[in-house]
Amino acid sequence: MKLKKTINIVNNQAINLVDIPVCNYRDFAELNLDLINGKPNCHCVSYFGYPIEEKIQLICCIADDELHQIMVSSSIVDKGAVLNSFTVRNPNFEKYEREIHENFRIGYTDHPWLKPLRYAFNRADKNEKVENYPFYGVESEELHEVGVGPIHAGIIEPGHFRFICNGEQIMHLEIQLGYQHRGIEPLFLQKQKLLERTTLAENIAGDTVVGHTTAFVNLWENLCGYTPDDSLHFSRILALELERIAIHTGDLAGVCADIGYQLGNSVFGRLRTPIVNFFQEWGGNRLGKGLIRAGKINYPFTNELAKRLIEVLNAYEKDFFEMTHKLFNLPSALSRMEKTGVVSYEEVLEIGTVGMAARMSGLNRDIRLSHPHNLYNSLTHKPVIKRHGDVYSRVQIRREEIRQSISYIRGLLQSVPEFHPPENFTEQPQKGKFIISLVEGWRGEICHCAITNAEANLILYKIKDPSHHNWMALAQSVRNNDISDFPICNKSFNLSYCGHDL
C-alpha cells in the first residue's frame, strides 16, 4: 500500500496539524522536487521550519495553479542536522533554505549560496553581523565594484546593492537585505490581542497595507471557523483593487522620474492623490490603515461613498489614459524601456517569481485566478500577461491592470451589499490547526501561515511577501545592462524591503 505523502488543501482551509503527513527527509525532498520540477503550474508558496521539542519540523507548501490546491507535506529533522539541499535541484527554494539555515543552524551540503538572509535577531549564529555580509567578489584588474546603500539617494527603504561592473556594464548584482528586520513574526506570537496582531499585519509593508491585512484577517477568521458575510468580502476586494490602482500609478510616476520625463512624473504623481484620498474619505487613512478588520469593518461602505468613488474614477480615468497614451507613444521614453532589464520566461520559472514579476515574462501566476479568495471567483479574472520581461512589459502590465481594476470596481459598485454596524470579533482560534492564506496584492502573491497548539495558542506565524522571490529577478534583470539603467529596472519592479526583512 502506498502511503499518502501530502495533504491537499485549498486557500484558507484550516486543517488539523496532525493530518500533515510526516515522511523522512529524503522522501520529502524527492516528493516536493517532483511536484514542481518541470511544471510551470506548480510553485512553492511557503517552506519553513519550526521547533517541536528538540527537533525541527519542516513544512513545505506547493501550490498547484491548475488544480487550485495546495499540497502540504512535512519532515522532522534534528537541530543542527546536515542535509542535502533542494536548491541545488531547483532554485525556487534558495531563500527558504537560507532562512532555515539562519534560524536553526541546519546545514546544507550542496547549497550553492548559503548566505545569511536577513540577520534576524533570533538567528542561530549571533556572530554573523549585518556589516560583514560575505559578498561575491571577482579578482580582476579590469572589473570594478560599486557599492550602494544601505541608505539610498531618495526617500526609500534601506538595502545594500553591490555591483560588479565592466566599465559601465553590470556583470553581476548582489542584493543584501535585513536592515529593516523588526522581528514581526515572533511579535505575532508574543502579542495576544487581535487588534495588536491586526496592527502588526498593517505594518508589515506600508505600501501593501490592504494586501497583508486581508491575508491576516482571512486567515484569522478561518482559523476561528468563522464565515464572514459578503459585505466584508466586498470591502476587502474593493480595497485591494484600489490599492493596486494607487501604487501602480505611483510606480508609473517613479519610472517617468527615472527616465527624466518630468511631465509623466508630475501627472502620475498627482493622479495617485485622489485615489489615496478616497481611502481617507472611506476609512480615515490615506493608505487604508484601520480599514480591514477580522469579522467586522469599522467604516461601512455606503451608497454615497460609491457615488463619490465613481466621480473620482471618472476624473482619474480621463487624465490617466491621456497621459499613458502620450507616454506609450513617446519614442524617447520607449527607447529607455524596451529591451531594458530583461528576464526571460526560463529565468523567472527558475527563480520562481510571483505576481507582476512572473506575468511580465509569460508566466501566468495570479492568486485571483488560481486560488481565489474573497469574491474573486465571481469576477472571472483574466490575468494581464506580457512576454518580453523588460521594463516596458512591467510598465504595460501596470497600465492594463489599472484599466482592469477600474472595471472590476465599477462592476462591484453596481450592487453595494448591506453593511452591519461593527461588532467586536470574539471568536477564538481552533486547537491544533494549520492554515495557509494566499492573497494577490498589487505586487503579487502574499502568503501567511499559522499553526495553533493544543491550547489554541499561536505557535507559528509565517509571512511571505512577494518580494521574497522577486528580488532575485531584479538582480538577474540588470545583468549586461548599463549601470545607469539600474534605477529604472529597480523602480519597474518596486520590491519591498520591509516585506522581505519582516
Partner: protein, 262 residues
C-alpha cells in the same frame, strides 16, 4: 524634413493639452487647507464616564492612560478603534497640525481642545537664522514600513510642493542640514543611522516622522530594535502619524523655521 517639424508641433500641443487638463493642482495655503473625508487627526477626550480600564486595554500600543484619560500621540497608531468603541469619550478631529518639539505636548488630556503647536522657547536660535530660508534634509528609513516614506515623497509632489518653501530632501548627508528618521530604528540599521548623522555638517537638526520613530509604535517592545541613537541626541521635531500626513509634516517644519504666516 518638414513632416518632422509638424510632428514636433503636434507633440507640443499634446503636452500643452495634458498640462491644461491638470488644472491648478497645488494647495495655495498649506496652513489652512482642509483634508477630505474623515481624517483622524488630533483627538478630543470628553469628560464622559466610561470604563477607563476597558478603554486603555483596547489600545494596541498602550497609548491611553487612565485616571483622567489621556492619549499619547507619540504612541498612537491612529487606528481609531477607541473612538469606534467609546464614541462618547473620544473623537478624532480633522486637525492635522500635530507636530511639536516638546514630547509632552503629544499627550492629549481630558477636556483639552487646543492646538498642539511648538514650544518657542525650545527652538534653538540658530535654526531660524541658518535654515529659515533654506533647509535641506536627508531622510533615513530605519525599519520604516514604507508608508511614512511614501508620504514624505508626497510632500514634494505638485500638490503639497514643499520645495516652494525652500525645503528639500537631498541625496547626501553632506548636503543636508538635518535628518528625518522614519521607522522604529532596527538594530541592523542603528550603525548606518549613526554614521549618516555624523556625516551631516554642524549645526544640524533631527526630525522624527511617524509613530514608529517617536515611540517604536507597535514594535516598541521588539528585541530587534536598537533605539540608543535617540537617547544620545536632541530631537528638534516630533511629527506623529501612521503614516504622517504630508500636511502634518509641512506645517511642523514651517513652525520650526517660524515660516508660518500668522
Amino acid at each position: 524634413m518638414r513632416s518632422r517639424f509638424i510632428d514636433k508641433g503636434i507633440a507640443m500641443f499634446d503636452n500643452l493639452k495634458i498640462l491644461w487638463h491638470q488644472g491648478k493642482q497645488f494647495i495655495p495655503d498649506v496652513t489652512k487647507a482642509q483634508v477630505p473625508g474623515i481624517f483622524r487627526g488630533r483627538p478630543i477626550i470628553s469628560e464622559a464616564k466610561i470604563d477607563e480600564f476597558l478603554l486603555a486595554d483596547l489600545c494596541p500600543t498602550k497609548a491611553i492612560s487612565t485616571n483622567a484619560v489621556s492619549i499619547d500621540l507619540g504612541k498612537c497608531t491612529f487606528c481609531g478603534e477607541c473612538a469606534v468603541q467609546f464614541p462618547e469619550k473620544i473623537t478624532f478631529t480633522k486637525d492635522y497640525k500635530l507636530s511639536t518639539n516638546h514630547r509632552d505636548r503629544l499627550i492629549i488630556k481630558e477636556n483639552e481642545d487646543e492646538a498642539i503647536g511648538l514650544d518657542a522657547e525650545l527652538i534653538r536660535s540658530e535654526i531660524r537664522r541658518l535654515f529659515g530660508r533654506s533647509l535641506k534634509l536627508r531622510q533615513v528609513s530605519a525599519g520604516g514600513d514604507n508608508s511614512c516614506e511614501w508620504e514624505l515623497n508626497a510632500t514634494n509632489n505638485v500638490q503639497f510642493d514643499i520645495s516652494r518653501f525652500g525645503i528639500d530632501f537631498v541625496a547626501s548627508p553632506r548636503h543636508a542640514d538635518g535628518i528625518v528618521i522614519t521607522g522604529p530604528i532596527t538594530a541592523n540599521m542603528a550603525g548606518a543611522l549613526e554614521r549618516c548623522y555624523l556625516a551631516v555638517p554642524d549645526p544640524k537638526i533631527i526630525i522624527l516622522a511617524g509613530t514608529d520613530a517617536i515611540s517604536g509604535g507597535i514594535f516598541a517592545d521588539s528585541p530587534a530594535l536598537n533605539r540608543e541613537f535617540l537617547s544620545n541626541h536632541l530631537i528638534d521635531l516630533y511629527v506623529p502619524g501612521n503614516p504622517v500626513h504630508p500636511l502634518t509634516f509641512i506645517n511642523g517644519v514651517l513652525d520650526l523655521l517660524k515660516k508660518r504666516r500668522s
